[in-house]
Symmetry: C3
Subunit: 155 residues, 3 copies
């Protein structure tokens, strides 16, 4: 298992492991925020969930959409759309032996931008706050993808 | 290519490979369930799909939403939201040299919980069936993330 | 860090790195297409986005859904549902020491099918264009999953 030990001994891979875990935890937090809004606003998508809260009354009244719930859901979906490429591209990038300083710069900026993006989406901040934080995260992933394709291309 | 051979010779990594493949296949199955409901209920989201089934008749009548189709789609999206973190966090976790027994326990509980979650969503079972199966899967990923951050942190 | 160097020296892993990056970039492109349609059609989901374009006028008029925007969003979600399994299954597959020619065949067909799928969805082409391109990508991932489970199973 020497190969395994060596992988996790690499500083770049440890940095990837840390930041990948952080951004995935941040994305998972969106599930809890959605649940919080659904429970406090009593807004549900499924009959069996509404049934718990109707206490024998009208179930349909709890089966509706709510702007705040939809906002969290859009924020969650935006995370999926942007964090999935980061996880995939970042993993490959961290295995192409990049410079540690450069790699850390990419990971830190991405994590910071996505955390800002969530705040900008959920507060919400006026534009271009959310747009810029999205663009910075997007640019970091593009930069890592460019680095992979320019060093590792095998078509 | 000694490094590659060694990675797949690790029992923990083989376990990850197996369970990651199983939960991703389970998630892919949701696409087939959606297609099945769309075709049997004749409920489509795209004009070109409805056109195949309208046979020259009114296309619009097939362009609607259906509660059963939406339910499968919510189940599929919930898979994406929960299985993506498992794949990313689980990969890194399996490379931090965890104890084989502990790792297998995490992977098996997660896979079981997500399979139960799909049944609870699609049958549907009354709450808290679905809620608990979701929470167990969520907790497994959090536990692996905690293990990564406590052994590998590199900020 | 010999382990790391060896991983990226493997032709199969380099091929995976290349095609994973390509399909993730293709998926990220959907964000730009969505933004393009939202800006040119002036169709927004968030008040703070609509506010930028209403210039003091009625914000609500820009808060609507548009069939073309929804189409791109469905295409993007379909990418997530299909490219996520490819990234996860493909990574594990490329670490099970598959034959280089076979692996390249899988990766190339998947990337080609998903690019065709996007064109078929966005033009849109009449069915079964989109259905077939979806099925081919789906089949490639199933084939890699079968290969993993038949060589690496560890339950």
């Amino acid at each position: 298992m020497a190969g395994l030990n060596k992988l996790i001994e690499s500083d770049v891979f440890r940095a990837y492991a840390t930041y990948a875990t952080i951004v995935l935890l941040k994305m998972m937090l969106m599930s809890l925020v959605t649940a919080y809004y659904r429970l406090t606003r009593k807004v549900f998508a499924n009959r069996e969930d509404a049934a718990v809260h109707s206490k024998g009354g009208d179930v349909k009244k709890f089966l509706r959409t709510d702007e705040d719930v939809e906002r969290v859901r859009r924020c969650h979906l935006n995370d999926l759309e942007n964090i999935v490429p980061f996880i995939g591209v970042g993993l490959v990038y961290s295995l192409t032996n990049p410079d540690l300083f450069t790699a850390l710069l990419h990971f830190r900026i991405f994590a910071g931008a996505r955390i800002l993006h969530s705040f900008a989406y959920l507060i919400p901040l006026p534009q271009p706050g959310r747009g810029l934080s999205w663009l910075i995260g997007y640019g970091v992933t593009i930069s890592m993808a460019y680095s992979i394709l320019s060093t590792t291309l095998y078509l």
